[in-house]
Point group: C2
């Protein structure tokens, strides 16, 4: 292996992402400096936030530069090391992006114990998605036993963890997902109390039936009509963990039409970015890792094969075509 | 005085309130039972929440019944008493509604000290509007010295108190109000740092200029475009005290179009109803009363004369024609 492949952002999308916004490149393997180590990436994580980074609009994070390796979380194995803290054969998580190879001085890497948790789970239930669910649950929604928690994109990496955490707290967990297959999975395999198929065309009545005592907490991943409908069913003093608005990832406006419910029901809504709370990650990842190791937290993965499949997989993710955590397997 | 007058809700409005939704009635003076007292109402408070109560739509409060005295806060004087806790000549605040006379067993009345605070102020800066400002400031926005606080309807009873409380905390206070006269008052008499005239047609640029360091806290009374514009200028971790959406008091949808800012800037938004927090009123009213008595909190009143003027005064309030706290003087 004298060369490796990576994918760079070739152009910024207008509206929907197209495959030609990306470019696959081959590069010679780098030479390590003293203190550096080289990682062979096994899995690349694809996440909705990537769409936002591809635009130039002001956001909480700097845009992805053109002609640079696309940003992304990765897990992989150390294959060469000139750093005394890391040995060949160790597994690490890091932000190496859409690349088969990563080089680091080790400062932003997290060593992974793959004896009880599968490597890929460190990009899902025991990685950023899991941390996101954990933060929304424990820092914002804080539901009590018996309360009703609604989560959109319920079969996704974040949503599936949210509902299971809600069940572990003794809550009624109601998912919203697109299609019967996802809803069946959410109820039958993940153990949610109910799941509403927003594509079935009866969202309001179905959600009302699924949350007969009203909604006490919403974990919002989608925005738009799904969110407005849930807001309309909130009980007094409901909490909203506003995590994402995938309905608007292509740049269109996603108004909250049911804003009156925020006032009428004295809702407390908070937007959050889990990477801003690094002080909580050790506790959150320990909690989530233990739940996965004990079999109390289930998850599903959509795995695309090979780096070249990443663009189409991201496009599919933004359209809800994935089922569970979207990964790209590189090795 | 063998009879007194009151105003009842005669019909529910469709869209804007019309005078014929109300009916003025004369009734014989009631006889007091043992333990009761009679109050001659001096001032009636008019408030935006009344519009909501006039509709049948589900809200946080029961609708105003038809053919019953219109709800409303009042201050007045005890003119007859068969209750040992109240003496003739004492001043009290209560919810006697749109009526010249109120009868009570005293359980929901608050005795008023008019030696250092004018009677009418107990319906404004030292009443529900002042408490509303106090709650939003101290329980939700909690701005630090140097932060920028924006309040809409800034010349109103709530907004004027919000901005002055912000100044007392060492914040930059920016108002939004309709028209040059109101804006001049907010800056020159109330001491806000700036006030933006939303009717001038340049809201976004004007607000940006008035809040050059961005917005850390919003006290929202209006909703709609005014709120969207302020949201677009929020700094990270901004707080929003969502108090009202007067823009939609006639029942129309008031979408939050800039919902993306809630996520992007990790905004914490909370709707609230100050009457639900009675445990804080003694502290809040004591604070506000002291500020008024010391001349540190200014306010303005729009006073309509006579009970029959109340319907037109409420219609004017909902259209922003008042200037400061809207009262009806009955005596």
């Amino acid at each position: 292996m004298a060369t490796y492949q990576r994918i760079v952002l070739a152009s910024r999308p207008r509206g929907e992402i197209k495959p030609e916004n990306f470019r696959l490149e081959s590069l010679p393997l780098p030479q390590l400096a003293e203190g550096e180590l080289m990682v062979r990436v096994h899995y690349l994580s694809l996440d909705p936030y990537m769409r936002g980074r591809m635009s130039e609009a002001k956001s909480y994070a700097a845009p992805q530069p053109l002609d640079a390796t696309m940003i992304g979380g990765t897990v992989g194995e150390v294959i060469e090391s000139r750093n005394t803290q890391f040995s060949v054969g160790e597994f690490v998580a890091g932000m190496f992006g859409w690349s088969e190879i990563g080089v680091s001085d080790g400062s932003l890497l997290r060593k992974l114990d793959v004896s009880s948790v599968p490597l890929s789970a460190y990009l899902g239930a025991v990685g950023m998605p899991g941390m996101t669910a954990w933060y929304g649950m424990n820092q914002i929604m804080q539901p009590k036993a018996g309360e009703t928690v609604v989560v959109s994109a319920a079969s996704g990496a974040v949503g599936s963890a949210v509902g299971q955490l809600a069940k572990l707290r003794g809550c009624r967990a109601v998912g919203i997902a697109g299609g019967k297959e996802k809803c069946d999975y959410v109820v039958n395999e993940l153990g949610f109390d109910a799941c509403v198929d927003y594509k079935a065309g009866n969202l309001k009545a179905d959600l009302k039936a699924a949350a007969p005592d009203g909604i006490d907490a919403i974990f919002e991943n989608v925005g738009g009509e799904v969110f407005d409908t849930a807001l309309g069913l909130t009980n007094a003093f409901a909490r909203v963990a506003l995590c994402g608005m995938i309905a608007g990832y292509n740049g269109e406006d996603v108004p909250i039409r049911n804003s009156r419910a925020l006032l009428k029901n004295r809702v407390n809504l908070r937007g959050f970015i889990v990477t801003e709370h690094p002080e909580l990650w050790p506790q959150g990842l320990a909690d989530m890792g233990a739940l996965v190791a004990q079999g109390k937290l289930k998850y599903r993965e959509s795995v695309a094969q090979g780096l070249a499949a990443a663009p189409e997989a991201l496009i599919g993710l933004l359209k809800g075509r994935n089922f569970g955590k979207q990964l790209v397997k590189l090795i």
